[in-house]
């Protein structure tokens, strides 16, 4: 039997993918299925009532708070994505086009420096920078530009956006860098040879060819920021809470796992739908190339 499996091409293929397949099944499919199942149950004080019901989804649709939170989450994620990708592109471009080849890995290494400290510490650091008595406010007061501390930079949505944009920057830089690296430099020369300036060459050749990396960066930043709850918890104040905080509250503080599960499913469907639309809009750039 064993020999039969290892001798056939198909058998060996199945054997080869089974460890990651089991891994994916246990760590991804089962938890997802459990969440999905939970979303159709109800919490009955300490027990979970396992009769099938759509009450959780009904509640999410009817109570405006959930819709508002989801909307704010999508808005924050969109802002974070826009800021991150716009700031990441010049960095990736610089490393790819203006750094000597033997120095590039050093630069990529430097870009990952923020990851050397814990995410939590980085969030607290932004608190120090943006806070009431923080670096920015004391600095501006000391040079006399403002009389009292700026309040719009901490404990609101802006603070969440700034912190998340910084946290996700390397995730955006790397895919764009890879896409830029893959561009055959003779294409840029060909464009100039055919009469285009360096400026126009960027828009007619470099940017279109870097789009797969930009699309990847957008997805890599957009998808996880929807689910982030640490930054909004610490930086968002009352007005900066997002859908993920509500999910956390439902699961832990309110002990209502089914409603939390339903919220998680709704958030996931939204992210999936938006990501798919985004990929479809950009399919022109993602076509197969040799």
């Amino acid at each position: 039997m064993w020999q039969k499996i290892t001798s056939s091409e198909k058998g060996r293929g199945i054997l080869l993918i089974s460890p990651p397949f089991i891994y994916a099944l246990v760590l991804m499919a089962f938890p997802l299925a459990a969440i999905f199942l939970f979303s159709f149950w109800t919490q009955d004080f300490m027990d979970v009532d396992t009769t099938f019901t759509l009450n959780n989804y009904r509640e999410i649709v009817e109570k405006p708070i959930y819709g508002a939170l989801l909307q704010r989450s999508l808005y924050v994620s969109a802002c974070v994505t826009l800021v991150t990708v716009l700031l990441a592109f010049p960095v990736a471009y610089f490393v790819s086009f203006h750094v000597r080849p033997e120095r590039k890995s050093l630069w990529l290494f430097l870009i990952t420096i923020p990851f050397w400290t814990s995410y939590l510490i980085r969030v607290f650091l932004w608190k120090v920078i943006l806070g009431f008595n923080g670096v920015i406010n004391t600095g501006l007061i000391n040079i006399g530009l403002i009389d009292e501390p700026l309040t719009f930079i901490l404990y609101n949505v802006n603070a969440v956006i700034i912190t998340l944009a910084h946290a996700f920057a390397p995730f955006a830089i790397l895919p764009i860098f890879v896409a830029l690296e893959k561009i055959d430099r003779s294409l840029l020369e060909a464009s100039q040879d055919l009469g285009e300036s360096k400026f126009m060459t960027f828009f007619r050749v470099t940017l279109p060819l870097a789009m797969p990396g930009v699309v990847a960066a957008v997805l890599i930043v957009f998808i996880p920021t929807i689910g982030d709850y640490v930054t909004p918890e610490l930086m968002g104040g009352a007005g900066g809470k997002l859908i993920a905080n509500m999910i956390q509250t439902q699961f832990l503080a309110l002990n209502n796992a089914p409603l939390g599960a339903a919220l998680a499913i709704v958030a996931m469907v939204c992210v999936t739908a938006i990501s798919l639309v985004f990929v479809l809009l950009n399919r022109r750039w993602l076509k197969g190339r040799s």
């Binding site: 464009s191 100039q192 040879d193």
Partner: protein, 361 residues
Amino acid sequence: MTALITLEGVNKHYGDYHALRDIDLTINEGEFFSLLGPSGCGKTTLLRTIAGFESVSSGLVAIGGKDMAGVPANLRPTNMVFQSYAIFPHLTVAENVAFGLRKRGDLNKAAKQTLVEDALDMVGLDGYGKRAAHALSGGQRQRVALARALILKPKVLLLDEPLSALDKKMREQMQVELMRLQRHVGITFILVTHDQEEALVMSDRIAVMFEGRIGQLADAETLYRRPRNRQVAEFIGKMNFLHADVQAVRDAIDLEVQGLGRLQITAEQSPELRDTGPAVVGIRPETLGILFDGETTDRKLVDGVVDEVVYYGDMTYYDVRIQGVEAPLNIAMKNMIGRPVLDVGAATKVIWDERALVLLK
């Protein structure tokens, strides 16, 4: 013939590396000009200097009488066919060909489309306009690259090893097509190649380059028959070299050649050398011969022994040792009726003629 491109004392340094050394060159209007040389000889650098992708460290590059110093590539009247063809993978064939037409405000959309169709037609790709560029074969890519450059009607078309990525059949076909195209459009072509056959077949004139210098600049026949020095002779085709001693230089040249004895050649057979003393003579394999049984000749003969036989089908290359010469002579023989392929070790007679000798510096 009017000069189109003039290079005077052009030097190019990359740090310590001296890529171009005092290049003086004039390329005429409507000429098919080749830069030939081994890799690293500076031929591509020279081409890129003309295109405007490399600046010169010193010297003058002028196109059409205008000094090109400080003129970027996009403002020069040159277009290039890149070695990799550099076809834009995100555009269709027609969009690739039309790439350089964006700035032509005098043309409306329909006129541009007609130009694109004409250009594709000219390179034999009519009907391919809507194809995705990444779905093309090597030969088709090259045609797109040609159409894309020629549609802009440049004064000079620069070709950087355009045939090196193609297989042998395709390469020979494209050689003929490039020549036909050049005659048709009448603009100057400058070809960079390391393939001497390619250069000999296509070019009006060839500059052979070594280590950043031009070794010899001549038409194909002169280059093949009268190479100036041993380096050029070795690079172009096969050549046998024999030590010689030049004894007298008058209207004719008297010399003693190793293995062949005393003989006399005309001054024309020595493009450079005018001094007496030790020298080297070159002789091409196809100007030597083997006297087969039943054949006669009125040329000179020398005894030899076959050392090696390489059979090519239409030709057989023999290495034949003759008395007094260390290296065997390479001889190319057509395989004609009644000529057997000789065995290694066979005693034979080598036919030679002093008119085929060239005296090298």
